[in-house]
């Protein structure tokens, strides 16, 4: 019957199974197989010596085998492949989620002590010097780093996101693919993804040395370094997202006599907003964790400095890096502050992400996900 839908389709070469007539496995078949696989895995390892990683690996293989063979025998090949792929996809997910969770657990368990301490979060680190005993006591604080992170990343975002999105609009909406400028920009964006971050830092610092003289350390020059890293990510991801906006929508808009500018801003961008924001958040996440360009371009300080135009600034990743690599005399306290800074950074990004999602929801057209 389906063959009639395509008049010129070749006739089936052999009798094929029909999904409606072949056998069907019980609904919870996959669950049963999983239990069986875990049991067999445990059995095999009981002979070899038990360890949890081996158990999971062997069980996974056994599971895929059971599902494939049983489904292939009872149902048909296509269903077997489908079930195996489903198993692999879930497995890929579990495989990936394990290290990711482990990272998060590490960050949270090692960092919560400092990150949940208000004196650490909202105070600049300080020292107390006792002239009688000559003892210096250090208190850790992350406030200067939080301010530094927000300012430097903020400036970088404000500069790169418009440039990046406008460029991708140029690439998708205005430029012709064969035009030299379109090709050059695509090519250059590709190249820009390969700039080592430390080189970006050096570039920005050299640029600012030319402009403001040798003592060019500032949050702004670090922000420029981050821009160099951020722009290609924004362009790349937004370009993909804009390409995915269905032509039908654009054409419907043009057909109604809507101008190109309005079509782009009212139809294309809102349709792609979720993807655009994902791309921007990825770019922010990528640069907010940079260390090398920050300490090249903004130097290092543990003092509070909220002026991005002059003076050294510290960011949370720099704090984490220096806390680990150059621990103070109290090594444990330094490590704690490093993990605390890392945890704060993750929290910061979570907040930014939430805001971004909210923005996306506000602007997304109704009926979208």
């Amino acid at each position: 019957m389906t063959a009639t839908a395509i008049p010129n389709a070749p006739a089936p070469k052999r009798n094929v199974d029909n999904a409606l007539t072949t056998g069907q496995l019980p609904r919870l078949f996959e669950l049963y197989s999983l239990i069986a696989a875990l049991a067999i895995g445990a059995g095999i390892l009981a002979l070899l010596g038990f360890n949890i990683v081996g158990w999971i690996v062997i069980s996974a293989i056994v599971y895929l085998l059971i599902v494939g063979i049983v489904s292939g025998a009872v149902e048909n090949r296509r269903k077997a492949v489908d079930r195996i792929v489903r198993g692999i996809v879930v497995l890929a997910f579990l495989l990936a989620i394990a290290p990711l969770l482990s990272t998060l657990i590490d960050v949270v368990s090692r960092g919560y002590k400092d990150a949940f301490d208000m004196a650490f979060v909202f105070k600049t680190g300080g020292t107390h010097f006792d002239p009688n005993t000559l003892k210096v006591t250090t208190t850790m604080g992350a406030w200067q780093a939080i301010i530094g992170t927000l300012e430097i990343t903020g400036i970088a975002t404000v500069i790169s996101v418009p440039i990046g999105i406008l460029t991708s609009i140029y690439l998708v909406e205005y430029g012709r693919p064969a035009h030299w400028m379109n090709r050059t920009v695509t090519f250059l964006v590709d190249v820009m993804t390969g700039i080592p971050s430390i080189v970006a830092g050096l570039f920005a610092f050299s640029l600012f040395t030319l402009i403001v003289g040798p003592k060019a350390f500032s949050g702004l020059s670090a922000a420029i370094a981050l821009c160099v890293l951020m722009i290609p990510i924004v362009v790349r991801s937004s370009e993909e997202m804009l390409k995915l906006v269905s032509m039908d929508l654009r054409e419907a808009s043009y057909a109604l006599g809507v101008t190109k500018f309005v079509t782009i801003t009212r139809i294309v961008l809102p349709t792609a907003i979720a993807g655009l924001i994902t791309g921007v958040m990825l770019a922010i996440a990528r640069v907010i964790g940079e260390t090398a360009p920050i300490f090249i371009a903004a130097s290092f300080t543990s003092n509070y400095n909220a002026n991005p135009v002059s003076g050294a600034m510290e960011t949370l990743p720099v704090m984490a890096y220096t806390g680990y690599k150059f621990p103070g005399t109290d090594i444990q306290a330094s490590y704690d502050s490093a993990w605390g800074a890392a945890f704060l950074l993750v929290i910061l990004v979570v907040i930014l992400n939430l805001i971004a999602r909210l923005v996306a929801r506000l602007f997304a057209p109704k009926g979208m996900r």
């Binding site: 792929v85 879930v90 890929a92 964006v189 390969g194 993909e240 390409k243």
Partner: protein, 391 residues
Amino acid sequence: MTETTAAFPQSAGGSGSSGQRPGATPAARRIVAKARPSDRIFRFLSVGSATLIMVILAGVALFLIIKAAPAIAADWHTGDLAQGTTAGHADFWTYTAPLVWGTLWSSIIGLVMGAPVAVGIALFISHYAPRQLAGVLGYLVDLLAAVPSIIFGLWGIFTIRPFLLPFEHWLNAHAGWFPLFAGNASSTGSTIFAGSVVLAVMILPIITSITREIFLQTPRLHEEAALALGATKWETVRLAVFPYARSGMLSAILLGLGRALGETMAIALIMSPALVFSLKLFTDNANSQTIAANIALNFPESNDLQREALIGTGLMLFVISLIVNFAARFIIGRTGSTGGGKSKKAKALPPTDATSMLALDDAGSPLQALHPHASSAHPEGLKPSQPEGRE
């Protein structure tokens, strides 16, 4: 079944009228829209941004070349370059070559481990996971993109290195004849393998977030059409989702690769480096160093000329990412626009009832019209239909 067949002409007509079929374009092109000030300003802005990118990049490239030139031209047998980290190399190229290899090697291992898993997760989130769970998972993955590389480095030192060590020893002992597993098994775990595993984890969120968004953008109609024809979930994904998302997936993977190539701190913290050409994964003394990590490790203690040599290696990283991107675009261009690859795939399919229709359809079949992957992935397909008529 009659319902299904009836639906086809309708949707085919819908997309046919949008002018993606060659026949419709000449008519659309003749319409010239009136340009308004807002249009012009906007166009100016976007062209301006594109130009600005060219200027920035020209600046960076110029900076790199000017800074690197003295070290590339210098005599490496005497003076500053004969001391410290650059000692013992005949010239710039013998110094850089192992670094280039190490960069590619660690990224390739990372990508081989990371990219399929990343696409798998994206697929799980977009197509397999229950809806509510998918939102949470998507969020979790986004969150992990935010973990700074320094943290991945620390995590690598404290968690991954000891975790992988028994596995590395086991493979080294039992499969040591295999070149990748050969060599003196590491006793500290600071191997290129540990570094690459961390790289794989780092690029996961990047690839996953982008591919997930792209998978979710697959037109629902395509998928429903496939499902309605009796395709299994996997067949739907393979026939409706993957072709649609191919260009985007490649972009995502390239972005991930870009991150892996340029990753500095994690590799620098985890791996015990050597300037060698080596395939070995599990040793302390034969891990090919990467360019970015080498810069980070040696930059602080280097003097002027050595720094210039390091910037020169940075220039090479630049060139590598250029070549990699170029190659990738070439490959996607080859497999994407010509129909050859696709028809081969179609033949490999079991000629079963529903899929045979899905896969073996020819250009004239309704599904092809419904299936604009060629046009959406390749802008040349969309351009002619735009009512511009300028330039």
